[in-house]
Subunit: 222 residues, 2 copies
DNA sequence: TCACTAATCAATAAATAAATTGAATAGTTG
DNA sequence: CAACTATTCAATTTATTTATTGATTAGTGA
């Protein structure tokens, strides 16, 4: 094969994978699937898309081998095809935050709207944990917590938080986390906790980032 | 701003950056610009595109803030807007090699066509260098070598190689490298060297990967 | 086996992207 | 300032992508 032909073919193949990621709906799906497997129905519900549209986007991701499926009863569960998929998503996400002024501003504005100080970084949280200075709460749905969570974190899904405030020590510093930097559960939790007088803050990133960086994690399953 | 609205806007902004990368021509341009600044003319020449087409692709990359420009005399030089751009390109490239069977096969076939054993990894090369077991040659155009190269590598642009064989010690192991895993200069060099009886092989990755991984590099400029 | 359910497919309309051509522009140099 | 040069722009054609609608399929469980 000639040099130019090789290059054309190769870059075309690489672009196929990138194109499959290069759509706002599919980026949101990938971000969601970083938590673990979800059925088409759940994905549609979480993203606000129609079932048919969700299915078509999933076909695109599957054709690009970015996701795989497994059937359980009547449902088909989709999940990311490997760690590289999350790594690429994260590289693109961080590139977006850094290069795209609009994206960076959206994020800052959103954090500011909750009148929060800057979210804590993963390194900060790790330091706080090793000094036993904090209580870490996982505000994602219980199922996602059970699949994997930050070591010693407590599961309090965000919609249960108001009823379970008594479980939270009043003097401790509270760090809430959820799915990722774009997940708003942690913001909602922090807002409520601060209104009740707690010293609360969010982790900037989410569980998949924590795990991917090699920080201590654990799962409820064997 | 409402939760859904925030997410829609945010993923749309992130997708813009990804879409800008998600095109075979623009991926090739980014791969090229990882070597340093190039004029529009040079980029067109290297990629085989028309000037106008090249310019339009560069406008897309510039609008997405993936590249920046600087003027020198009559020429406008384009360069990558930061290390994150290369990181994202690398993540996508490696994702492609791993997930896209066609891309993986193209690459393997291309290496095999030169009847080479497996290319050496960056870690392998680093070990060989520290044991002083190898002669490392940089077969890119001289200008790219001067901007930055693997420490102690010798510059022998691939088209000069045939005339400069006498400079290469016959008993040493030779490792040639160029721009990246898709750059074929190193393959051409290895093919020629092996035909002449040398023990030669290529580095799988290229100089930008080497530098990005923090391995020892140096530049001819101050 | 038959009804049921989750998911996919097919067809369409609307929107967006790519390459080509030729004209226009902004700087530079004599 | 005028000629020149590298690059960009504008207009066009062709191709690709997206969301919607409604029909269809594959598998489950009574």
């Amino acid at each position: 094969m000639e040099k130019r032909e090789f290059k054309n073919k190769m870059y075309t193949e690489l672009a196929k994978v990138t194109k499959a990621m290069g759509n706002s709906r599919r980026m949101e799906i990938i971000d969601l699937l970083a938590q673990g497997p979800f059925s088409v129905e759940k994905i549609a519900e979480q993203t606000g898309l129609s079932i048919a549209n969700t299915s078509q986007h999933l076909q695109v991701l599957k054709a690009a081998r970015l996701v795989e499926i497994s059937r359980k009863g009547n449902f088909i569960f989709y999940f990311l095809a490997g760690e590289r998929v999350f790594n690429a998503w994260r590289a693109l996400r961080d590139l977006g935050f850094a290069q795209n002024a609009e994206a960076g501003k959206l994020l800052e504005d959103f954090y500011k709207a909750g009148e929060q100080p800057d979210p804590v970084s993963m390194e900060d949280l790790q330091r706080k944990i090793s000094k036993k200075e904090v209580v870490v709460i996982d505000v994602r749905p219980r199922e996602e917590y059970e699949r994997g969570h930050i070591k010693n974190a407590v599961s309090i899904p965000v919609h249960e938080l108001a009823k379970r405030l008594k479980e939270i020590p009043e003097k401790a510093e509270i760090i809430a986390y959820c799915r990722g930097p774009l997940c708003v559960y942690a913001d909602e939790a922090v807002q409520l906790l601060r209104k009740k007088g707690y010293n609360a803050n969010r982790l900037r990133e989410g569980y998949p980032d924590w795990k991917s960086m090699g920080f201590p994690a654990e799962s409820s399953y064997k």
